[in-house]
């Protein structure tokens, strides 16, 4: 029993040490990325295309739907309490501060996280990582950093896009319930929007992007020898990505607004 507990603690300590070492390497190689004569630039472009551009349609749909839901719910409940004017504040708080960053992060964590983990896991098993090393390519620099940068840039861009589309969605649905002039709607929204809301959404999306990409690449690289480890790595990439994004979201909100 004690021996088993000791082995478990030892394995956990080794895992954390490996994770810390991995994060340090990613940080170091990211700092050096622009200074190197990079052959990895096209990997970054491809990652932005895959994670960012290809996710635009699904983000649009979800943002429009959520914008519509909030305006319908708000438009129904708030007048009963004589608080119709709060609708714009609620739109800003819910979409810009919270739903925009977290839902975009979930979409990317569910879509790109497992893809990245599975792709890298496959590369480990088929010795492609060793092949990169054999020709003098640092796998962290060539495979991880472009994915971390690509996912982070995509999450940030898609979050801004989500916020915009969410607010547009709510405007379109508002036209069906009680039409508001375009200028009046957006000028009311802009009056409620503060600089710290914009900074909050950018900070959150940046941190979520880093979390999703580092977790996914770490899980991919943790695959050691067998293809049966790959689905587990993909699942862990999503699960850990979700949990860490939730925790980071709560922490940032607490620090930022309390």
């Amino acid at each position: 029993m004690v021996a088993a507990l000791g082995r478990w603690a030892n394995d956990k300590a080794r895992d954390y040490a490996y994770a810390l070492g991995f994060c340090f390497q990613v940080l170091k190689e990211t700092a050096l990325f622009m200074r190197r004569k990079q052959v990895a630039f096209h990997v970054l472009v491809l990652q932005i295309l895959f994670t960012g551009v290809e996710a635009v349609s699904i983000v649009s749909l979800i943002a429009l739907s959520f914008g519509a839901v909030i305006i319908v719910e708000g438009g129904t409940v708030l007048p009963r309490f004589g608080q119709t004017s709060l609708l714009y504040s609620i739109l800003i708080v819910v979409i810009t501060r919270e739903l925009g960053p977290i839902l975009t992060a979930f979409i990317i964590a569910a879509r790109s996280g497992p893809a990245i983990a599975a792709e890298l896991g496959n590369m480990v098993v088929s010795h492609e990582i060793e092949a990169y090393m054999s020709v003098g390519i640092n796998p962290i620099s060539y495979l991880v950093v472009p994915r971390v940068l690509g996912v982070t840039i995509s999450v940030m861009a898609l979050t801004i896009y989500f916020n915009f589309f969410g607010l547009v969605g709510s405007f379109l649905v508002a036209q069906l319930i009680h039409p508001i002039p375009f200028v009046e709607y957006f000028s009311a929204l802009l009056r409620k929007l503060q600089m710290r809301d914009i900074l909050s959404t950018l900070l959150k999306s940046f941190i979520f992007g880093v979390i999703i990409s580092v977790v996914a690449t770490y899980q991919g690289f943790k695959v050691s020898a067998s293809v049966t480890e790959i689905p587990r790595a993909a699942i862990k990439a999503v699960g850990q990505g979700f949990v860490l994004c939730f925790l980071a979201d709560a922490l940032i909100t607490l620090i930022y607004y309390v």
Binding site: K37, V39, E119, N122, M123, S126, H127, E128, E130, A131, Y132, M133, S134, V135, G136, I137, N138, S224, A225
Partner: protein, 267 residues
């Protein structure tokens, strides 16, 4: 000439299994060394450690006297430029075309060479083995033999002075084996150092200047091919006989020599 790569008391445990147990062996510059031993004895691991792809738990791995795992990034890149590695399963990059697989090492090591020149070099390499028509194909579209030969071309495209090969002719048909052997012989003819793990008696007979025999993570014998082949060590002779037995039909002279040297009852 001295050793281009030398391992000193190298120990390595992988997944709880002791893969290398205090291995000390040198690989002479300009010579071809074949590593033999039963399956699972640590040959491939030794090759990867010698190439600096897997760090050992203890011991030193030196390239021209310098510890590979203590090298600066720049020195390591310089060493990689002089090395080529052929993996047992080819390990071609599946998300790249055949052309890109060969072009990437050139892009990394010769960024100053114009892209058009690098492309010409890749096409010339592919033409040499008749794969130029498949340049835009992904590795998944190639046959097993074509993958092997492409992996060999990738390792050779930077014109290395040291070539590591892990079973370069394993699971390859007779015709393709002949083409691969010819490319390897040409490379040997250029004076390159070759370190190969192989069970191919034909390749061994035509390539080996030196022989390393391993068992259970240890080097049992190493030295000149003829010396090791005639080793009085019973286990060495038994392993060579065992390893080469299955492909005796391909062999021309190696088993005959082994048979001549062996006493009845030793096998």
């Amino acid at each position: 000439m001295g050793d281009i790569v030398a391992l000193e008391d190298v120990r390595l445990t992988l997944g709880g299994f002791e893969a290398l147990r205090g291995v000390s062996v040198g690989f002479a510059e300009g010579k071809s060394t074949v590593i033999m031993g039963p399956s699972g004895c640590g040959k491939s691991t030794l090759l990867k450690v010698a190439a600096g792809l897997i760090p050992p738990d203890s011991g030193r791995v030196c390239f021209r006297g310098r510890d590979i795992f203590q090298m600066s990034e720049r020195a390591l890149l310089g060493m990689r430029r002089q090395n080529g590695f052929v993996f047992q399963d080819g390990a071609l990059w599946e998300n790249k075309s055949l052309f890109e697989n060969l072009a990437l090492p050139l892009q990394v090591h010769f960024p100053e060479v114009p892209a058009a020149d690098r492309s010409r070099r890749v096409i010339r390499a592919l033409e040499r083995v008749g794969l130029e028509e498949s340049a835009s194909e992904r590795p998944a579209a190639l046959s097993g033999g074509e993958k092997k030969i492409a992996a060999l071309l990738r390792a050779l495209v930077t014109e290395p002075i040291l070539l590591f090969m892990d079973e370069p002719t394993l699971s390859v048909d007779f015709a393709m084996t002949g083409r691969i052997n010819q490319i390897i012989r040409d490379q040997k003819g250029r004076g390159s150092t070759i370190i190969a793990v192989t069970h191919d008696a034909q390749l061994t007979a035509s390539l080996a200047d030196r022989l390393v025999v391993m068992e259970a993570g240890e080097v049992l014998a190493s030295g000149d091919f003829d010396e090791v082949k005639r080793s009085p060590h019973a286990r060495v002779r038994a392993i060579l006989s065992e390893v080469l037995k299955d492909i005796a039909s391909y062999d021309t002279d190696l088993l005959e020599l082994l048979d001549q040297d062996q006493e009845p009852g030793e096998r």
